[in-house]
């Protein structure tokens, strides 16, 4: 049952606490949505999402169900329990203020009021600051709804996939420990759109059971199961 849901407009940022075993569903409210997400252990945010550890342990260069999102301490922070998309990017970072201005021209509150163009970095740092965190707490973020695929050539050339996400696409995370989640809905920096029309997302927070013995994440890979076990032990 959905405990509550909120809409985050495109180009904005948000932070929230997600308690253990609650689920967070992100639902795209338009095409080419992007949610740049940073994840921290609520009780001690020096423990945080570690994308390299997450990818190498699960032999994947992208995020998909039923992977767990692992911290630098080996714990599963969250499990990706469902998604309408089989590819979410985690290797291309997020937009910076200078790049947004170069692409779309200058923008300010004075000129554009609340439609001013704020980069993902601006939004993430603003939200981090509210939790006593800052630039040193940035780590590799996940870009939900975005696909940037390697060409398989010598250099590992990457290409953004336009139209990967449509309105209604969704992804659900189950918190495996209490989390601080910080996110931005600014466009992905490789999105070739010529105009700034970022899609919003709806965040749906629901009560949920923890992972059962037959949970798909637990039964996917031994590494995934061990990350869940490490998370569970810290509540034993």
């Amino acid at each position: 049952m959905t405990a509550y849901s909120i809409e985050v407009p495109g180009g904005a940022a948000e932070s929230l606490r997600l308690r253990r075993h609650r689920t967070l569903t992100l639902r795209a409210l338009g095409p080419d949505a992007n949610v740049a997400m940073l994840i921290y252990a609520f009780d001690g945010p020096t423990e945080r999402l570690n994308v390299p550890d997450t990818l190498k342990a699960q032999m994947s260069a992208h995020i998909k169900p039923p992977m767990t999102l692992m911290s630098d301490m080996g714990r599963a922070l969250a499990s990706v329990t469902a998604s309408s998309l089989d590819w979410h990017d985690a290797i291309t970072g997020h937009s910076l203020p200078a790049a947004v201005e170069r692409r779309f021209g200058p923008s300010s509150y004075a000129a554009d009021r609340n439609d001013w163009r704020r980069s993902a970095r601006f939004g993430l740092l603003t939200e981090l600051w509210k939790h006593d965190l800052g630039a040193r707490d940035l780590h590799a973020n996940i870009n939900f709804f975005t696909k940037v695929a390697p060409a398989g050539d010598e250099r590992g050339t990457l290409a953004y996939t336009p139209g990967h996400a449509s309105e209604g696409d969704h992804v659900t995370l189950r918190a495996e420990i209490d989390l601080l989640i910080v996110l931005s809905t600014a466009p992905h920096p490789l999105d070739p759109a010529e105009t700034w029309t970022p899609a919003g997302v709806r965040l749906e927070i629901a009560e949920g059971p923890g992972p059962a013995p037959d949970d798909p994440s637990r039964n996917w890979r031994a590494e995934t199961a061990r990350s869940l076990e490490l998370a569970e032990r810290s509540y034993a």
Binding site: T46, N50, V51, P52, D53, L55, K56, A57, M59, S60, A61, H62, M70, D72, M73, G74, W87, I91, T92, G93, L96, A98, A99, G134, A135, R136, D137, L138, H139, A140, N141, A149, P150, A151, G152, E154, R155, G156, T157, L158, P189, L190, E223, R226, S227, L230
Partner: protein, 205 residues
């Protein structure tokens, strides 16, 4: 920093290195015996928060692997160093550094007390002091390490593409702090199951 900067250190298997590299230095890391991963972090020497960012570097060059021509970027997209020569061919920056915790996840509890790169990062950061803390240890470069990424999005650790005497040379684009772990991992092929010494040399260009 000094105008007569000269650096020539051998880093033994499982050991580390930390120190400042002046702007303009040509820095060479040599894989003395082959197949040796060299986990490396760079910082702007004047502002450690302006540090190497794997994902900003990958996005800005539009490619996953590092090789000649790659510009290593900070989180603010300031250039830290440029790879100017590379006899190995390609280097990884997606695989991160091994830690006791990630070893448990990947290989099981019996590996919990084996030596790891993050332990070397901790030791060297503590030695250096100057405010370096856990949250300053971001995602690193793995020189000489082979982590192929496939079109369907798979990622694996493979046997090294390196060989004895292969080297990578970088030009420092600003004053740098460099932190290195000569990887002690024994559970995958990244060091050919036999970690060995590397050599770090530097001179003014």
């Amino acid at each position: 920093m000094s105008d007569e900067f000269v650096l020539d250190d051998v880093v033994e298997a499982g050991d580390g290195w930390i120190g400042e590299i002046p702007a303009g230095t040509l820095l060479r890391i040599t894989d003395l015996h082959g197949n040796q991963a060299v986990d490396t972090l760079f910082y702007d020497a004047l502002d450690y928060a302006n540090r190497y960012s794997a994902m900003d570097t990958i996005r800005e060059q539009g490619a996953v692997y590092l090789t000649t021509g790659s510009v290593l970027m900070t989180v603010n997209c300031d250039p830290l160093a440029t790879i100017v020569a590379d006899t190995c061919g390609r280097h990884d920056t997606l695989g991160g550094a091994c830690s006791q915790e990630s070893n448990v996840v990947r290989y099981g509890r019996h590996t919990r007390h084996q030596h790891s790169c993050r332990t070397t990062f901790v030791r060297k950061a503590k030695e250096w002091g100057r405010g370096l803390e856990k949250r300053d240890i971001a995602h690193n470069i793995n020189f000489f390490m082979n982590v192929p990424v496939t079109e369907d999005g798979g990622l694996t650790f493979e046997d090294g593409v390196s060989a004895p005497g292969k080297y990578v040379e970088l030009r420092a684009e600003r004053d740098l702090l460099m932190l290195v772990s000569n990887c002690p991992q024994l559970n995958n092929p990244c060091n050919g199951y036999d970690p060995t010494a590397i050599r770090i040399t530097g001179r003014r260009a």
